[in-house]
């Protein structure tokens, strides 16, 4: 019974995409629309296969992954430290909070022209953009997570003489962990989104964004679509991995949340 329900749900959700593909194939093969505007699904699969057979495509993917990983790691670590500082100290919050909140209003993409002028069209501005994208959500969620640690936990800690680093490591961070992992998951998504900005606006030889741009310059829609699918699929896998990691870290916390 459950299987048939699941099958039904699956069939239901595949109707629209299936219809789209059929209409797409029909329109593309009918010749009404030029193939560089609307390549057929067939063509895309071919482009996909040739791309992945070429060794070069792997290099593009590797370049993008490396970029995101570096920016994401720097942004996460610094965001965590900054969020921790503002979360633990009200004075630090009062000093840095207002400035942080104002700067945060500037859309990250807006920084691109400025940092290109400062650092040139190099890897550094690309990494900076991705780092900032990861920095904001981790800072905000670490801060909020710490501020929402129940007062009772601090009372308990003082009864048992937990202080300083021990208090932070044993009580504050574990209690704030769900919020922190949410921040890290968001940070990955933001880094991935800003990777595209970094690669599209700061020209580079290697990167998936470069490939998409190349498709546009060559009027090769199939190349563009293959790039889009690659970006979407990689983003999905990475987010899923981080989400699973977050879940694994969060073991046993569900009960606490419900009481």
């Amino acid at each position: 019974m459950t299987i048939s329900n699941k099958t039904k749900a699956f069939l239901g959700s595949s109707i629209v995409p299936l219809l789209l593909v059929i209409v797409w194939q029909y329109v593309a093969s009918s010749g009404y629309v030029a193939s560089f505007i609307l390549p057929s699904p067939n063509q895309i699969i071919k482009t996909f296969v040739t791309n992945f057979v070429e060794k070069e495509y792997a290099l593009h993917i590797a370049a993008s992954l490396k970029r995101v990983l570096i920016g994401f790691l720097i942004g996460t670590v610094s965001g965590f430290s900054f969020g921790l500082l503002m979360g633990l100290s009200r004075t630090a919050e009062k000093i840095f909070g207002p400035f942080f909140n104002v700067i945060r209003q500037v859309p990250i993409i807006g920084f691109i022209p400025l940092i290109i002028m400062w650092f040139g069209v190099t890897e550094l501005p690309r990494i900076i953009i991705i780092t900032v994208a990861a920095f904001y959500p981790v800072t905000l969620n670490t801060f909020a997570g710490i501020r929402n640690v129940p007062k009772e936990y601090f009372e308990l800690s003082s009864v048992y003489g937990y202080k300083g680093l021990k208090l932070i490591r044993r009580i504050v961070i574990p209690a704030a962990l769900p919020s922190i992992t949410t921040g890290i998951t968001l940070a990955l998504g933001m880094s991935w989104a800003m990777l595209m900005a970094a690669e599209l606006f700061i020209q580079t030889y290697f990167g998936i964004g470069t490939r998409i741009q190349l498709g546009r310059d060559k009027f090769n829609m199939a190349l563009v679509i293959v790039g889009i699918i690659t970006v979407g699929a990689l983003g999905f896998f990475m987010t899923t991995i981080v989400e699973q990691l977050a879940k694994a870290l969060d073991r046993g916390k569900i009960i606490r949340k419900e009481t």
Partner: protein
């Protein structure tokens, strides 16, 4: 408004908040006067201020801001209303949800900016392409939050509507939408915020007007003061829009201390 602000942060706290900006300003001015960087890369704060004023006076800034705001508005209107309608549909009908939900989820995996080359191929770099791109940015938070709100309307309110015979439009406008409103408003706020972000993206792809255009021109002519002025303007407008939206949210949701309706 200002009174409330003062109550929350007393004068001492607000002075603390000035430390970092003043420090940055001092560092900046110091670096300039010590000639640590070329004037081409870092103009003095005062020059930046003068540039902003000048751009204001000449009318360049105002007209470009208008163009940008117009784009954000149209993009949000297009993407936001599409997201709202589909979100309500998916929230109310399991069939629509099953048909569209997975598709939206798959599309959402693609970073918005990755669509831009495709949009440009399809429409060329024209006004419609830019607005369409902003609309994509505005679409996701709206559909997601509207769906959450509508599908999360408590069963007890559905029952109440049945008891009092509320149907179709009246049901939607008097029960479903008000109940989902906090979530919908969050959607609007995020949606406009992202529209603003992707406006800058859309303009950097090439345009002949808008605040982004000012920055591109500044960069091409190596006028770093213009680029920085553009950044200040974008940030300030973002701050104003965000503040206004928060006020709007407070106004619309006034009276709802606890959303579950108190003792229930």
């Amino acid at each position: 408004m200002s009174l409330k602000f003062l109550q929350r942060f007393n004068v001492k706290d607000r002075l603390l908040g000035l430390i970092v900006p003043l420090f940055v300003l001092a560092l900046w001015q110091g670096a300039v006067s010590q000639h640590l960087f070329s004037e081409l890369l870092l103009v003095p704060p005062l020059t930046l201020w003068n540039t902003i004023i000048e751009l204001f006076r000449s009318g360049d800034l105002i007209s470009n801001i208008q163009v940008s705001l117009n784009r954000v508005f149209l993009g949000f209107l297009l993407g936001g209303s599409a997201g709202f309608i589909l979100g309500v549909g998916m929230g109310l009908s399991p069939v629509i949800n099953r048909a569209l939900g997975p598709l939206v989820k798959v599309l959402q995996q693609v970073p918005e900016l990755a669509w831009m080359p495709m949009i440009i191929l399809l429409f060329g770099i024209d006004e419609f392409a830019r607005i369409f791109f902003i609309a994509i940015g505005a679409f996701y938070p709206m559909i997601f939050n509207t769906y959450q709100g509508v599908s999360g309307v408590p069963e007890k309110y559905h029952e109440l509507a049945r008891v009092f015979d509320y149907k179709s439009f009246r049901y939607l406008s008097k029960v479903i939408i008000p109940s989902a409103l906090p979530s919908i408003i969050t959607g609007i706020r995020l949606s406009i915020g992202l529209s603003w972000m992707f406006l800058v993206g859309a303009e950097l792809f090439g345009t002949e007007s808008g605040v982004g255009f000012l920055m591109i021109m500044g960069r091409q002519m190596f006028q770093i003061d213009v680029v920085m002025a553009g950044l200040v303007v974008i940030g300030t407008l973002g701050l104003i829009i965000n503040t206004l939206l928060k006020k709007f949210e407070q106004f619309v949701l006034r009276g709802r201390v606890s959303f579950d309706g108190g003792a229930a």
